[in-house]
Amino acid sequence: MPSSRLLGHLAEHAVNRSRSVALVCGDREVTYGELSGLAERYAAELTALGVTPDRPVCVPAHKSIDTIALLIACFSVGTSALVPSSELGPSALRTICEQARCSHVLTAGADGRPKWTVVDGAAPEGFEPVDPSRTKVLFTTSGSTGTPKIVPVPESAFDNFAEWATKQFALTADDVSLSYAPFNFDLSLLDVWVILRLGGRVVLVEPAASADGGRLRRLVADHGVTFVQGVPLLYQLLTEDETATFPTRTVVFTGEALPHRLLPRLVRAFPEARLYNVFGCTETNDSFIHEVDPATAGPRIPIGRPVDGVEAVLLDDDGAVIEEPGTGELLVRTPFQTSGYLQSALNDKVFRPAPDGVGGPFYRTGDMATRNADGTFVLEGRRDFQVKVRGIRTNVLEVEAVLASHPEVEAAAVVAVPDDAAGHRLHAEVERKPGSGLTSLKLRGHGAQTLPRHAIPSTIRIGDAPLPRTSTGKPDRKLIKETVMKG
């Protein structure tokens, strides 16, 4: 459904592959024939509710077969779907629904009927209307604040991406993919939608199984998963049992750097697989790929080279293009990228005209990268205060601002501490106002109103003492981080 052509493919599968299993979730399997029937029932419900192509609907990304059927139904009635995290706080959800002018928030019920609420807020100014003839799906950036940015995925971007991915990984209707990431991540375009487009099988990982190595290993083994894509945490869980091996053909790691110690474990657990490091962003989808040769891999795995059709540019601190090997901010232009945030004022900051003035805009990734003499690229880290928490891009300054907005908070500093399992975990150091009895739990409650769960700091230390400051008066994040890491 990210595109009309995908709908056409699904209609063909419903006839030609009607008895082939399309989706597996827990004990439930549905065939392409059943999926088509389910989507038709949802489509009838949507029409009865008065859903029309004039306004998008919001479908929170609950991980279930019914959510997929509901999304197919939305696209088949011609409406676009905004797909935010199912863990988004209620006020943030309302805000983005108003921004996208959604008519309904829809959740697939187990009984094949959608639960729904009507959105009746007025659309704020400065947000482009969604064009359902060009865009079927809208993601949100992971949004460490209460207001994620809305990213439309043009149909043509999805079709281009599907064609690239199918060729790159030699995917066919015989493939079985593991859908580990939530549906609101751009990763689902590949591990759910490209696979369904081909008539393959998608094995959904329910949230309850997502941190459970034993269940994940059983899913991959029992369903003969041939294609796995995920953040390093997934591979840590899949490979923690040293005796388990899988016949998987393709292993893609993405989202953050793979810890070096995991590479030998991957080779042992996936003896037949080709291993790929892939780099991409919600705004551009996959942009770089590197096939890893474990025999020669060093401690830092490159992101490799731009994928077919992608152009990459490095800019120095003055904004000049670096032509030679060197290090600078990475900008990319991909055939898969968004037409721009719905809030058009945000676009000037991150989309830049091409340096040579030819063609469409480049996206500023916010990542520093080095181009080696052989033309391969290596990531050097973020330009700003963004880190990955459990694979999700999170801006520590934005989390800080949410905590500091509590009326009893004098000052707050949030630092990201490296964590073996999660990539990073967040720690908050908070100074409360004099006479306040604010507790960390109350502050958590405040944060949970607007922050997605991954962005709520794992630890919050709250007290009356002033925060340590640098000579320029900023919170001394370095000192706070060192203190936390010493335990």
Binding site: A208, A211, T439, G447, A448, H454, S458, R461
Partner: protein, 85 residues
């Protein structure tokens, strides 16, 4: 020490860096408020399994069973091994 106090002490020392506050009521939602995340849930369940001799295979990993101290205690009480022992 009653079960609620044991679980409370464990949450305070493992997930709240030792900060014990009256706000941590038996129905404070640990998952909604980001105290226990999915990795934390696995840690919590492994602790329950060891401490209360509940076979880990019998533990359904449903976050709703572990949402707050009340649910965790109810879960331990209704597990067959803990009930018989």
């Amino acid at each position: 020490m009653d079960l609620e106090t044991q679980i409370r002490d464990y949450i305070v020392s493992e997930f709240l860096s030792g900060e014990d506050v009256p706000d941590l009521t038996d129905d404070f939602d640990l998952i909604e408020n980001g105290v226990v995340d999915s990795l934390g849930l696995v840690r919590l369940i492994s602790h329950l399994s060891k401490t209360y001799a509940i076979p880990v295979d019998d533990i359904p990993l449903l976050p709703s069973n572990f949402r707050d101290i009340e649910h965790i205690c109810a879960f331990i009480r209704q597990s067959p091994v803990a009930a018989s022992g």
